[in-house]
Structures are given as structure tokens and as C-alpha cells.
């Protein structure tokens, strides 16, 4: 006697906003009638914080501050104990996405040290002899569009051996001159990062030019904090010795789930940066860093 439990949300993209109603159906498929002790739905939104291994040793004291932060929770009983008839049964449900007090629903974000996740879990309790059934599904929350108009502020940059920091032997560096511009560093998360880049000259042929999207996650409180930068994705925009003085487009789509509007709270921060990485044929690695501010409009 096997029953199949499933949750289907009304929206195909599973994206909801604060104040909206999360609606869908619980689907039970079984050949025969299923005896149960009640079916319940739990909606939960949690921020999980984690310390990187390097921080753990240093800040033992943090342990308190890294316990999950609950953003929203709600539980309803969908069906009272009884029997679900055989075949396919659909039970509709609705959850209003309202928060208590002055809490805010942060946007869904899957990171390394910070995870903001919203789940909907359906449990079917059954008698002692049969196993309980459970099914959970994640839904996405997008935060409310930020007020205020975003004025695109292009950033021009020039990279030459002289502009570099952290260089050990400046003398051994080949000569090069790379100019570029980012159309904006305050980006709308649904719009790609754009710009262009011109290799004006380079003594050594270029091997590759990449855009590295980096997340900077900070966890902490009054006692101290841990800040870690990790790579989200690396997008190659040029391969090989590209034509000089021909503009190469900079274009990167912000991946869903792995990015969110830049977030700053009392306990944690999620910020983003982009690195323009130029790899020369002699494996010299030149990086130019640009902090980004992501927002949703």
C-alpha cells in the first residue's frame, strides 16, 4: 500500500512576494484508500548562518550568533484524521505571506555561509504500523521592489601595470593597457551586467579574459564578525589573443538563487563583487575588482 504525496504550487516559477498568498494543492495519489492521522502543512522561512572552517577556531564565541534566524513560520491542518479515497486526491490550500512585527522577508538566497530558504512541508501522520509521509518543496521569495530610481552610473577603468596593487616584482610585468567600462555597478538583479572592454595593447598575448562574480558574506555581531568572499561563477568573455582595440562586450547574467539584492542586517551581510580577470599567455593573472550593489526594481 504505497501512497504518493506531492505539493504543487500554483505559480510555475514558484516566486512569491511578501503580502501575497501562497496557493497550491496537496496531491495524494494512491491505488487504495489511505488511512491517516491528519495531514498538515508547514511553511517556514529560515536564514541559516555558518562559519567557515577558518573562522571557527578564531571566534569560538560566535556560536551563539550562528543559530538559524526564523523569518516566518506557519502551520495548518489540511485534513482531519480519516481516510483519503483511492486514486488522485487534490486538496487546495492557501497561505498568506504575512510577517509578524517588524520582521522582513528577505529574498531567497543560496550561498555558502548564508542561506535564506523558504520551504513548504506537508506531513501525513499515520498509524504506528505505517510510516509517516512527508514531502517538502522550496518556494522563492522576491523582496519588494526598492523605492527610488536607480541612476546608472558608468564606471570607466584602465588597467596598466602601474595601476596594479599587490605586485611582487613590478619589473617582471609585461606591458599592457586595457581600458573598459561597466555600464553600472548598481545593478538591477534581473538585468545583466554589461559593459565593454578594449585591449589597447599587450606585450604578451592574452590567454583569456573572465568575469568572476563573487559573493561576500559576513556573519557576526557585536563581538566580531567573519567575512568570506567566494566565487559564484566565472564567465569567460574572451578566449585567446583577441583583436586589439576592438571592444569586447562585457555581459553577465546574474544567476537566480545564487544572487539576491545586496543585503545588510544586524547579524549578517550579503554583498557582491565582480572581478575582471585577465590571464596572460605567460600565466600572469591580472584582476580588477568592482563592488556591486544589486537591487530589485
Amino acid at each position: 500500500m504505497s501512497a504518493n504525496l506531492d505539493i504543487r504550487l500554483k505559480r510555475a516559477n514558484k516566486v512569491y512576494h511578501e503580502g501575497e498568498v501562497l496557493a497550491g494543492v496537496v496531491v495524494i495519489i494512491s491505488k487504495e484508500a489511505v488511512q491517516h492521522q491528519g495531514i498538515s502543512l508547514t511553511m517556514e522561512g529560515i536564514v541559516n548562518l555558518q562559519l567557515s572552517s577558518k573562522s571557527v577556531g578564531v571566534f569560538e564565541a560566535f556560536y551563539n550568533s550562528v543559530k538559524p534566524i526564523q523569518l516566518i513560520t506557519s502551520n495548518i491542518e489540511v485534513v482531519k484524521p480519516g481516510k483519503v479515497p483511492g486514486g488522485k486526491t487534490e486538496i487546495p490550500f492557501e497561505f498568506p505571506l504575512n510577517v509578524k512585527g517588524n520582521k522582513v522577508l528577505y529574498e531567497t538566497y543560496h550561498g555558502v555561509f548564508v542561506n535564506i530558504q523558504y520551504t513548504l512541508r506537508c506531513d501525513m501522520k499515520r498509524s504506528l504500523l505505517a510510516k509517516d509521509l512527508s514531502k517538502s518543496c522550496e518556494f522563492m521569495v522576491h523582496c519588494q521592489p526598492q523605492k527610488g530610481k536607480l541612476i546608472p552610473s558608468p564606471v570607466d577603468f584602465t588597467i596598466t601595470p602601474e595601476t596594479l596593487q599587490n605586485v611582487k616584482e613590478r619589473g617582471s610585468l609585461p606591458k599592457f593597457m586595457i581600458r573598459g567600462r561597466l555600464n553600472a555597478t548598481s545593478c538591477v538583479i534581473t538585468q545583466p551586467l554589461t559593459g565593454e572592454l578594449v585591449v589597447e595593447s599587450s606585450e604578451v598575448p592574452i590567454k583569456s579574459i573572465e568575469l568572476q562574480l563573487v559573493r561576500v558574506e559576513t556573519c557576526g555581531c557585536a563581538e566580531g564578525y567573519a567575512r568570506d568572499a567566494t566565487e559564484i561563477q566565472n564567465i569567460q568573455i574572451a578566449e585567446g589573443d583577441v583583436c586589439h582595440s576592438l571592444p569586447i562586450p562585457i555581459y553577465m547574467v546574474f544567476p537566480r538563487l545564487f544572487t539576491c539584492p545586496t543585503l545588510e542586517t544586524t547579524n549578517f551581510k550579503v554583498e557582491f563583487e565582480v572581478n575582471v580577470v585577465i590571464v596572460l599567455h605567460d600565466d600572469h593573472l591580472i584582476t580588477e575588482n568592482f563592488p556591486l550593489k544589486l537591487c530589485r526594481v
Binding site: 505559480r11 589573443d241 583577441v242 544567476p255
Partner: protein, 962 residues
């Protein structure tokens, strides 16, 4: 049964013919008659109105019968109607006010959007590229499924290569596995790629979408690898096939998601797409946008470009320029150019109306053109030991394709601009070549002189010049340059072509220019060109490697020179033919010459063609297939039929003599020759209006002699028999009595040689039917053949009948008796006062004997013997199996008696009644025939002097089947 005395019925052929004819009824004027000239009175403007110009002539009424074919085409033909309708639709719409404007715009848009048939599709190029860009070097495929962090094991590891490959094969394409295949031959490589294509389809079918995507990403990654660079174009073709597969699969999948309730029309809009489909589509794009490497990201996104239609109306329009710009990031110029070609291809397929991105592609290409001559490329070439000209030709397919897309239906101004931009770039031979290749031929032709000077300015070490001239020649073969420039163009071009060293390069270029030369110049120039080709191709027997090109030269010359006298008066034409020294090719060429010759027969130089035909003929040997022989013979026959010396018949005969000597191995040709000679004799007769002079008489006798000595060389017995008979008839018609006699005697004498079975179309069949046919034909000829004064009466008839008697017929066959029965009508006809037919100026037996009673008695005696023989045979058929044959045989004898015997004679009458009864005795006869025969007899009985027929009917009874 006692012998029956024969009495022939006296026939009045003229009267009988009158009776048989239908009564003639004059046709009243105005009556319908299908063959009467048609008078058109009704105006056709109703149906002609739509078509404009053609209607003007058809609206007037004409009394002449219109040609049924042309009247068919005049509007009523559904095909031309459609064509006319579609041609006139656009102007018709523009006449309509208001909404017409809108309609036309839409129409224009459609026209712009659709890619017409005049656009040469990619599929046509594919095979060409694969065949052209090959390598003998070892290739490798390096695939990392899953994460690419793990490095390939160093090649120097202890495990031998083979074992490693095997181990890797075991890993297959599992998640996270990596595979490196080294030392692949080109064929292996192609097979591997095909395997990948298959596993992509399998992965897709088993719902492993991620794996499918991974396969495609890995494959497109191979496109960034330019090791073994001369294979790159082919690699591109192979891998883009896989990308196309993915593009199709994804599009179909999403499309099917939309059509849960109803099928989505092809022209769907974004609003018709449901959320699930959109989400899936979006997922694909996000997934692709996060592909790390540039080249796979570019190719895969281009592959599913069409899917943008599910997301937004302007998606494709926005994506194309972005992808175009993205290609700038590709450093290797070759890789970049091919990426552009792919993008153009996808763009043309998905959104042909978006010309801008195509143009932008081209201008970007120009922008990065200097890369081709950059240091990185040079280093790579040195490393791979590839020469610059070879390297540059690798670009051609991609640039050609890009330009083809750009220039497709492009306005003149744009083309001019592009050309100007190309001119400004240094080292532009490669571009020049593609421009000539891809732009409209007319465009190139009008600027041919410019192009030549540009070509001359090109760098010697770069793109091979003969290819440039080849491309120019190709354009000029399709479109004509201005009249005044033609000769200078040819001179300039040929000056370069003739300097090309390598015979292969030379001929491939010269071959193209032959067309231009033939098209616009006279035999003098063509002759010069041919002699130049001979000069280049003869040293070291270079022609041996260039047969296809040489053949194509001949074909082109033949296309433009139909006048064979001109063709063969070209000094170098026959020497050119001598270059074809391989038998099969030689025959092939001769064939094409003959085909053209037969098509456009004109006065010509005989010897040359005889030479051509002899070549074909001499290729026949013991191993030649029958089909081959037949088709060769067909061509030679065609040739022989075309030969005519007008009134010079003797010349014609001597040609036939020569031809006989030349083509002795092909029997059908011999047969044709005999027919030709016979025809010649009859033609002579016609010219002389039946009465020969001494000279012509001698000539026709010579013709007869020709046939007489040619026929025995044939192996087919029936050809011999029939030709003897035919030639005999011809000789008779030409009053050559002794010759005719000889022919017929010869025919009779070889009758005995006829085998019992002959092979017809490979199957063994009894010859009896053929023999019977022949004998009947022969008998009817004998009526007009006068007896030989030195031989006995009816010498030939007797001879024939003796042969028939002695011939070993098949057992249990009535053929012999049937011959006897069919001899009876002949004998009966011979005993008439005037014969049914005769030959002008030849006295038949009717005049020779003048109804001499002795002669008649001879005939009757002969008939008696024959009837006796038949009756004897009938008796032997009394047994069980024979009764059916007995019945039918008796009935045919009855019919013969009825038609040709004088039934007023009681004995004959009685005999016929007996035969009737015999034929009905066993009920095997066809009742319907019997009934109709009875009716006939009744009908005949009503004629005067035929009353005995009515009496006879009384005695004939129909026997119902037991």
C-alpha cells in the same frame, strides 16, 4: 477420308471492299464533329482578364483551330493560373485604396522574411566541406563530463595507450567521468562525433536533459581547439550538426509543453505560451548563461536561439546583436569566423528578416580581419607546418557563407559599400574571393575589370591566385560582363591562369574559364584555350589525374558549340580528345559528344564522328555487359540515322560500307545499316518515281548486294530471316527480280536452322510463335513474287512448304499444320484472275500465267495435298488430350474453307460441314465465335451468288455444351 478436290472461290476484291466499307455520310455545316475546325465565337476575356497582357490576343474571336496545347496553357492550365495569380497579386493589392497599403506592407514583410528558393541552403555546402577539408593527421577528442577540475593523466604514464583507451571506454559518458581519445584517424573522429550525437539523442529520450546539455557543451568546446587546423572546417560541420540536434530537441520540447490542450500554430505569439513552458525555457537560458567558457556558451545559445520566441517578441532581435558582439571575444580568427558563419546560419533560419545583425557580423569580421595575419596565427602555422595559402583557404567556406547570407537580396548600395570596405583592408585576397563567390553574379560581372585589377594587386604569398580567378570565372559563367570588356577580361585572366604551375590547380581554374570563353567567343579563342590546356596537361601525363575536369571542359564546349562542322574544324579538339587515354573515360566522353550530336544534328565532319563512334565501338569486348552494348549501339545507330548526303546516294552507300567495317562487333548497328541501305534503295525508287534508269538500277542492285552479304554475318536467326524477307521485298519493289529471288531462297534455306527455342530477354522461349509469324508474313509476300523461269511452277511456295515439312517441329504441336492451313489462302489468292495486290512494274504470276488452266491445276493439286495433310493430322488427334486441339484446328480449317474455298462444290461443302461438326463434337469451341460465324454465313447467304451459304446454314447446328 478420301482426298478432296480443291476449288478456289472466285473473289472480286474490289466489290468485297465496297461491301465492307461503312456508308459515308456527309457532315452538315454546323453539326458537331470533333475533327471539324473549331470556330471560337465566345470572347475569352472572362478568364483572361486576370492575367493582363495575355488576354489581349485571346479576346478576339478567331476562326482558325487553336493549337490544343497552347489553348490549354492559355489560362485554363491550373499551374499557370496559380503562377499568374501570385504574380499579379501584389500589384492588384496596391490598387486597392486604404487597406491596400497595409496589405502590401504585410506582403512585403513576408517577402522579406522568407528565405526563397534562390538561397542555397547550408545542407548543400555541408557535404562539400566535409569532402574538401580532410586530414591524414591524428586527431583527439577530449571530453570532461562533469567538473573539469581533474586534469588528464599525463601521456607519459606507464599504462600503455591502448589499455588506457579501453579503460576510458568503460567509463563511457558517466557523470564526472572524463575521456580523452588520442590518435584518432579522421574516420574514427567522425564516428565518435556521430556516437556523441546518438548519445545526445538517447540522453534526451531518457529524460536526462542535463547530460544532454553536457554532451553538447563538451562538443562545442572542441571547436575552440585548432590542433590539426586543416580539419577544422569539417569539424565545424560535424559539431554544428550536434548543436542543431540540440536546438531542435529543445525547441520541440518546449513547444510540446505549450500545446497541452491545442496544438500551437507555427505563428504563435508569446501570449499563447503557458507559464510552465516559459519557466522551462527561461531555465535553459539561465543554465546556458552560466556556462564558463565563451565558445560553448556562444554556440549553445545560438543553437537554441529560436526558443526566444517563447519568451518575448523581441528576444531574437535582441539576442542576435549580442551574440554577434560576443564573437569579438574569440581570439583565434578562424574559430571566430566559423562562429560567425554559424550565427548567420541560425539567424537566416530563425529570423531572416533581421539583416542588421548579419551586416554587423560582416563588419565585425572586417574589423578583426588583421588578426589573420597576426603573430599568434603565424606561430601556430609554423608549429603545425601549414602553409599560408592552405591556411587561408580554410576560411573560404565560412566567409563565403557569411557573405552569402549578407548579400542575399541585399540592395545594390549595401553590396557596393561592403566591397569598398573590403578594398580598404590590406591582404584582402581572401575577402575578395568570398565576395566574388557569394555576391550576385551580375554584381561581380559588371565590375569584372575592377576585380581583375584588384586580384592583380594581391600579395603573391597569400591566398592562391588561381582560386581567385576561379571564383571570378564562376561568376562570369553565370552573368555577362559588358560587351566591350569581355576580351580584355579573358586576356588578363588567361595570362595569369597560364602561369599556374601545378597542373591540378591549373586545370581546376581553366575548366571554369572555358565556360566564359565558349559563351562569348568564337572557335578561334576556344581553340587557343584548348591548346593551352593540352600544353599544360600533357607533360608527365598530368591529364591522368584530371579526367573529371577535362571531361567537364568537353561538356562545356559541347554546350555552346552545337555546330559540329565548326567543332571539328577546331584544330585542337581532336588532340584534346586524345588526352582521354583511360578507356572508360574515353568512352564516356565519346558518349557525351554523341548525345549532343544526336540532339543537334547539323552537317558535320563525318570522319571525326566516325572516329568518336569507333572509339565507343572498340571498347566492346567479351566482357562488355549487354546493357552497355545496347546503349552504345543505340548511340551509334542514332549517329548512322543522322548521316545524310542528300542526293548523293552512292556516297551514302559507301559510308554504310565503311560503317559496316568499323562497327562489325555490334549487331544492332549491322541491322541498322541494312535498314539504312534498304531505305536508300527505296528512296532511290521514290526519286526515280518507280522507273529506274540504268544507273539507278545498278545502284539498287548494289544496295541489294550489300544487304545480301551483310545479313549472313548476323547471329540472330530471326534478324536474318526478317531482314532477308525485307530486303527481298525491297529488291522486288526495285524490280531486281533475281536478287529478290536470291533473298527469299536464302530465307527459305535457313528456315531449317531456326532453333526450337530462343532466348528472349534472358529467358528461354519457344521459337514457334515467331516462326509462325514469319512464315505467314513470308507467304503473303510470295503472292507477288513471279516464278523463276528456269524453276518449276510455284517453286518458292513448294520450297517453303518442303522446309516446313522437314523442319523438326516440337512434338505435340500443330504448328506445321497451321502453316498448311495458312498456305491455303495464299494458294486461293494466287488462283484469282487479278491479284489482291501487286507491285508496280513487276509482273506477278497473274500476268505470267494469265490464268492458265495448267497453273490452276497445279495450285489445286497443291491445295489437295495440304488439305489431305491437315485431315490426316486431325485424325491423329482423336485421342483424349488431342480433342481440344482437334476442335480448334478443325474450326480454323473450316474458316479457311468458308473464306477461300468454293463451297458450291458439294465435296468441299460436305467437308466443311463435317469440319464444323468435328469442331463442335467435344464442345470445346467458343460458342460466341460459332454464333458469330453462323451469323456471318447467314449474312453472306443474302448476297447474290451465295445462296448455297443459306443452305449450308441449315446443316450447321450449334451444339450446346454437354
Amino acid at each position: 477420308m478420301a482426298t478432296v478436290q480443291w476449288y478456289s472461290r472466285v473473289r472480286n476484291y474490289e466489290a468485297e471492299l465496297q461491301v465492307c466499307r461503312l456508308e459515308s455520310v456527309p457532315v452538315e455545316f454546323g453539326d458537331y464533329h470533333p475533327l471539324k475546325p473549331i470556330t471560337v465565337t465566345e470572347s475569352k476575356s472572362r478568364r483572361g482578364g486576370r492575367k493582363g497582357s495575355t488576354s489581349s490576343s485571346s479576346s478576339s474571336s478567331s476562326s482558325a483551330a487553336p493549337d490544343p496545347l497552347s489553348s490549354m496553357l492559355d489560362g485554363t492550365d491550373p499551374l499557370s493560373l496559380f503562377a499568374a495569380a501570385s504574380a499579379s497579386e501584389a500589384p492588384a493589392l496596391s490598387h486597392a485604396a486604404g487597406s491596400g497599403e497595409l496589405g502590401r506592407k504585410r506582403k512585403e514583410k513576408e517577402e522579406e522574411g522568407a528565405v526563397g528558393l534562390d538561397f542555397e541552403p547550408w545542407s548543400a555546402k555541408r557535404g562539400e566541406i566535409l569532402a574538401r577539408f580532410t586530414t591524414t593527421e591524428k586527431l583527439s577528442i577530449n571530453l570532461f563530463m562533469g567538473s573539469d577540475k581533474g586534469k588528464a593523466p599525463s601521456p607519459g604514464s606507464a599504462v600503455s595507450e591502448k589499455v588506457r583507451t579501453r579503460l576510458e571506454e568503460l567509463d563511457d559518458l558517466e557523470e564526472g567521468s572524463q575521456r580523452e581519445m588520442l590518435n584518432l584517424s579522421q574516420q574514427d573522429y567522425v564516428n565518435r562525433i556521430e556516437e556523441l550525437n546518438q548519445s545526445l539523442k538517447e540522453a534526451w529520450a531518457s529524460d536526462q536533459k542535463v547530460k544532454a546539455l553536457k554532451i553538447v557543451i563538451q562538443c562545442s568546446k572542441l571547436l575552440s581547439d585548432t590542433a590539426v587546423i586543416q580539419f577544422y572546417p569539417s569539424k565545424f560541420v560535424l559539431i554544428t550538426d550536434i548543436l542543431d540536434t540540440l536546438g531542435r530537441l529543445v525547441y520541440e520540447r518546449i513547444w510540446s509543453m505549450c500545446s497541452d490542450s491545442r496544438l500551437l500554430p507555427d505563428s504563435f505569439s508569446v501570449d499563447d505560451v503557458n507559464d510552465t513552458a516559459k519557466e522551462t525555457c527561461l531555465n535553459w537560458f539561465f543554465k546556458i548563461a552560466s556556462i564558463r567558457e565563451l565558445i560553448p556558451r556562444l554556440y549553445v545559445e545560438a543553437a537554441i536561439l529560436k526558443c526566444n520566441r517563447f519568451l518575448s517578441k523581441t528576444g531574437i532581435q535582441e539576442t542576435l546583436p549580442r551574440l554577434t558582439a560576443m564573437i569579438r571575444g574569440i581570439g583565434d580568427p578562424l574559430v571566430g569566423v566559423y562562429a560567425r558563419a554559424y550565427l548567420c546560419r541560425v539567424g537566416m533560419e530563425v529570423a531572416p528578416q533581421l539583416k542588421d545583425s548579419l551586416n554587423k557580423n560582416f563588419f565585425d569580421l572586417l574589423g578583426s580581419f588583421r588578426q589573420i595575419h597576426g603573430d599568434s596565427v603565424q606561430n601556430q602555422l609554423v608549429l603545425q607546418r601549414v602553409e599560408v595559402p592552405v591556411y587561408l583557404t580554410l576560411y573560404s567556406p565560412a566567409i563565403n557563407w557569411t557573405l552569402q547570407c549578407v548579400s542575399y537580396r541585399a540592395p545594390e548600395a549595401l553590396l557596393t559599400e561592403m566591397m569598398e570596405r573590403c578594398k580598404q583592408i590590406g591582404n584582402n585576397a581572401l575577402l575578395l574571393n568570398s565576395v566574388m563567390w557569394a555576391f550576385r553574379a551580375e554584381f561581380v560581372a559588371t565590375r569584372a575589370t575592377d576585380f581583375i585589377s584588384m586580384i592583380k594587386d594581391c600579395d603573391e604569398a597569400g591566398f592562391p591566385k588561381h582560386l581567385l580567378f576561379g571564383s571570378l570565372g564562376r561568376s562570369l559563367a553565370c552573368a555577362d560582363p559588358p560587351e566591350s570588356e569581355r576580351l580584355p577580361i579573358l586576356n588578363e585572366a588567361w595570362r595569369v591562369i597560364t602561369k599556374v604551375r601545378s597542373p591540378q590547380d591549373y586545370i581546376s581554374c581553366a575548366e571554369i574559364w572555358v565556360e566564359f570563353t565558349c559563351r562569348h567567343f568564337t572557335k578561334r579563342e576556344v581553340n587557343t584555350v584548348l591548346s593551352d590546356i593540352i600544353k599544360h596537361m600533357t607533360p608527365d601525363r598530368a591529364f591522368e589525374d584530371a579526367y573529371p575536369q577535362l571531361q567537364s571542359v568537353i561538356r562545356k564546349v559541347l554546350t555552346y558549340f552545337h555546330d559540329f562542322s565548326m567543332l571539328f574544324s577546331m584544330e585542337r579538339f581532336l588532340p584534346f580528345l586524345d588526352m582521354f587515354q583511360k578507356d572508360s573515360v574515353r568512352v564516356e566522353v565519346c558518349r557525351s559528344i554523341m548525345e549532343v550530336f544526336i540532339k543537334y544534328a547539323r552537317p558535320f565532319i563525318l570522319n571525326a564522328l566516325l572516329h568518336v563512334c569507333k572509339t565507343m565501338h572498340d571498347s566492346v569486348n567479351a566482357l562488355t555487359l549487354d546493357d552497355e552494348k545496347r546503349s552504345l549501339a543505340l548511340l551509334i545507330n542514332g549517329f548512322i540515322r543522322m548521316v545524310s548526303f542528300g542526293r548523293d546516294f552512292e556516297q551514302q552507300l559507301s559510308f554504310c560500307v565503311e560503317a559496316r567495317a568499323t562497327f562489325c562487333n555490334l549487331e544492332p548497328v549491322m541491322v541498322q545499316l541494312i535498314h539504312t541501305v534498304n531505305q536508300l534503295a527505296m528512296e532511290t525508287r521514290r526519286v526515280m518515281r518507280g522507273s529506274h534508269s540504268r544507273k539507278t538500277a545498278a545502284f539498287v542492285r548494289a544496295c541489294a548486294a550489300y544487304s545480301f552479304i551483310t545479313i549472313p554475318s548476323l547471329s540472330s536467326i530471326f534478324s536474318r530471316l526478317n531482314l532477308y524477307l525485307l530486303s527481298g521485298q525491297v529488291a522486288l519493289a526495285n524490280q531486281c527480280l533475281s536478287q529478290a529471288d536470291a533473298f527469299l531462297k536464302a530465307a527459305v534455306s535457313i528456315l531449317a536452322e531456326v532453333p526450337r527455342s530462343i532466348s528472349v530477354e534472358g529467358k528461354l522461349r519457344s521459337s514457334e510463335g515467331f516462326l509462325l509469324d514469319f512464315v505467314n508474313n513470308f507467304l503473303s509476300t510470295l503472292l507477288v513474287v513471279p516464278d523463276h523461269p528456269e524453276q518449276g511452277v510455284l517453286y518458292l511456295v513448294r520450297g517453303l512448304l518442303n522446309m516446313v515439312q522437314d523442319y523438326t517441329w516440337e512434338e505435340s504441336s500443330d504448328a506445321k499444320v497451321r502453316v498448311y492451313v495458312s498456305a491455303l489462302p495464299l494458294l486461293s489468292a494466287m488462283s484469282q484472275e487479278t491479284y489482291l495486290y501487286s507491285i508496280a512494274k513487276v509482273d506477278s504470276n497473274e500476268t505470267l500465267y494469265g490464268g492458265d488452266p495448267k497453273f490452276l491445276a497445279e495450285i489445286n493439286k497443291l491445295c489437295e495435298t495440304l488439305i489431305g495433310q491437315v485431315l490426316d493430322h486431325l485424325k491423329t488427334l482423336g485421342t483424349n488430350e488431342g480433342v481440344r486441339r482437334q476442335g480448334s484446328l478443325a474450326f480454323s480449317l473450316f474458316g479457311c474453307l468458308l473464306a477461300h474455298g468454293d463451297l458450291r462444290n458439294n465435296r468441299l461443302n460436305q467437308l466443311s460441314v463435317n469440319l464444323w461438326n468435328l469442331s463442335h463434337k467435344h464442345g470445346y469451341c467458343d460458342t460466341r465465335t460459332s454464333v458469330r460465324t453462323l451469323e456471318y454465313i447467314k449474312h453472306q447467304g443474302q448476297q447474290p451468288n451465295m445462296s448455297h451459304f443459306s443452305d449450308m446454314v441449315q446443316r450447321l447446328s450449334l451444339q450446346s455444351r454437354a
